[in-house]
């Protein structure tokens, strides 16, 4: 087969498969998009308002808003909830794989370090929206165990960048009452970064408006292994018996048990990759996935709203055994 006929065949295949794909349901809570998942433009839902009143008045000061029905308030912080989102359907815990920073830099002829610098503004934006819209836990995959294999210069830059950012943001973090926890094998991080992490965790431990969990030098398998080691230690110390070990016992020792909501409702991954890449392997069993093509530095409010809207339109299954 010639190259041209093959290319033509591929073109015709794309046209044919678009026609062959079943039509997407347009209902507000569609049971399935029925399309390949990363083409994730959710169908339009109806605008939702409570008692014909706006969900948010857009007041910039942090003034609690009490709905007429006495539903839990969304604290106003200057970013009103879009009409297409419903407060009661907000995920409680969102996880994000902030992928595509190096590709973003490469496309602009910049070094990878510029991509890592560009990681921060969208993260700041997502944190702010979580604060505004009542999402209680945000877990972000900042650095994986596999990332340690990258060039040392890049890794060193990343760690020093984390440290600089943490130190420069601490005032804002305290003002917004964000609790910071770092999960991962921190023993392999530079001593100065370890110290910064300890200080910031201690300072923010009583904050409760948003729990920001940063996964740094984290791997899902690492988490499971360290949980099993913790279980082994408890057996050794006589706290639990060998015969009592089950999945619940292991689960309690995972790093994400730093929060009362350890299981993400929604996982967002940018850059078009369709994998979890060793992130929260145990915790993602019933998590809804949302894959977006945009690279992380280009991820904005519209894309976050798109993810939340897609989540809110889905029928969640928690895998209850029948």
């Amino acid at each position: 087969m010639t190259f041209l006929s093959c290319r033509f065949a591929i073109f015709c295949f794309k046209v044919a498969s678009r026609r062959a794909a079943p039509s997407r349901s347009s209902s507000k809570r569609s049971s399935s998009s029925l399309s390949i998942s990363w083409l994730s433009s959710p169908s339009r839902g109806t605008s939702v308002r409570k008692d014909d009143a706006p969900v948010s008045t857009g007041i910039t000061a942090s003034v609690p808003y009490v709905s007429r029905k006495g539903v839990s308030p969304v604290v106003e912080c200057g970013v009103p909830m879009p009409a297409e989102l419903r407060e009661e359907l907000m995920p409680k815990h969102v996880a994000v794989i902030m992928d595509g920073n190096r590709r973003w830099a490469k496309m602009r002829g910049l070094p990878p370090s510029e991509g890592h610098v560009a990681l921060v503004p969208p993260l700041r934006m997502v944190v702010k929206l979580c604060l505004c819209w009542g999402i209680k836990v945000l877990t972000v995959f900042a650095f994986s165990t596999e990332n340690l294999l990258r060039p040392k210069l890049e890794v060193d830059f990343l760690f020093s960048h984390f440290e600089r950012t943490a130190n420069s943001e601490i005032e804002a973090i305290m003002r917004e009452r964000i609790k910071i926890t770092v999960i991962g094998d921190t023993s392999k991080l530079p001593k100065s970064l370890q110290k910064t992490i300890t200080i910031i965790e201690e300072k923010t431990k009583d904050n409760s408006r948003l729990h920001l969990i940063m996964a740094i030098n984290y791997g899902g398998k690492y988490d499971i292994v360290q949980a099993c080691k913790s279980v082994a230690k408890k057996v050794q110390d006589g706290i639990i018996h060998l015969e009592d070990i089950n999945e619940n016992i292991v689960e309690k020792e995972l790093k994400t048990n730093c929060t009362e909501l350890p299981y993400p409702d929604l996982l967002i991954r940018t850059s078009g990759e369709l994998r979890v890449s060793n992130f929260l392997l145990w915790q993602l069993a019933y998590t809804e996935f949302f894959f977006h093509k945009k690279l992380w530095p280009d991820f904005g409010k519209d894309e976050f709203v798109e993810a939340l809207k897609s989540f809110q339109q889905r029928q969640r299954r928690y895998g209850f055994l029948s």
Partner: protein, 211 residues
């Protein structure tokens, strides 16, 4: 020739050009309510066989597919169970399909069992005073222990989810580190073209693994 004949012929052309060797192990997650439709599951397997996908892991949370195993093997006469295949399934000659049936108990519960096995073995080796060396537990030990408790399958390259949800419904967590996950929609509306497209897209993607 109507449009459908043309589309079917085009699929053949596309299938012929697939680098199917890149897809060494495929997992199919089916929402348990939909997994009762054995005829659809068989049709899906036949499609996969025709495309050249020979190693398939079938998962549903409640073990419905495990109960349909006999029926499936009666129809898929060229398929063997993973337990019957001795060699590494990703390297076996492609003259038959290898099917693995997995459910929730093969996931988190299996990890707990595997960890328990390691602890028990460790106790036997340090039997004076029952001291347990928790430092010896490494990822490789869990890998080996999982094999012993019956979790033999490798990490799938691609995982297709059939059902209304876009999650993997508890597929064994130890096996999905770099697995590509694609939501296919309801099994009721499964389409050959969508299946080919998912496989085609997988085979043309360049994979980085965090490095």
């Amino acid at each position: 020739m109507d449009f459908r004949d043309g589309a079917h012929n085009l699929y053949h052309i596309i299938v012929a050009s697939l680098h199917i060797g890149k897809l060494r192990y495929l997992a199919v997650v089916i929402e348990s309510e939909e997994a009762h439709q054995t005829s659809k599951v068989i049709k899906l397997l036949q499609w996969l066989d025709s495309v050249g996908v020979k190693n398939v892991c079938l998962y549903d949370m409640n073990g419905v597919l495990k109960k349909s195993k006999d029926t499936i093997f009666q129809i898929m006469k060229n398929a063997k169970s993973i337990e019957e295949v001795n060699e590494d399934v990703t390297h076996h000659a492609p003259d038959h399909m290898t099917l693995e049936f997995v459910s929730y108990v093969d996931g988190k519960e299996a990890v707990a069992k595997a960890a328990n096995l390691i602890f028990v073995e460790n106790f036997k080796r340090h039997d004076i005073g029952g001291e347990l060396d928790h430092q010896i537990l490494l990822e490789s030990h869990l890998n080996q222990a999982l094999q012993i408790v019956g979790c033999k399958g490798p990490e799938p390259d691609l995982l297709l989810v059939y059902g209304p949800v876009r999650s993997h419904l508890g597929f064994p967590p130890w096996r999905i580190r770099y697995t590509e996950i694609v939501h296919m929609g309801s099994l009721n509306f499964m389409r050959y073209g969508s299946l080919i497209k998912a496989i085609y897209n997988f085979t043309k993607v360049r994979h980085n693994y965090g490095t």
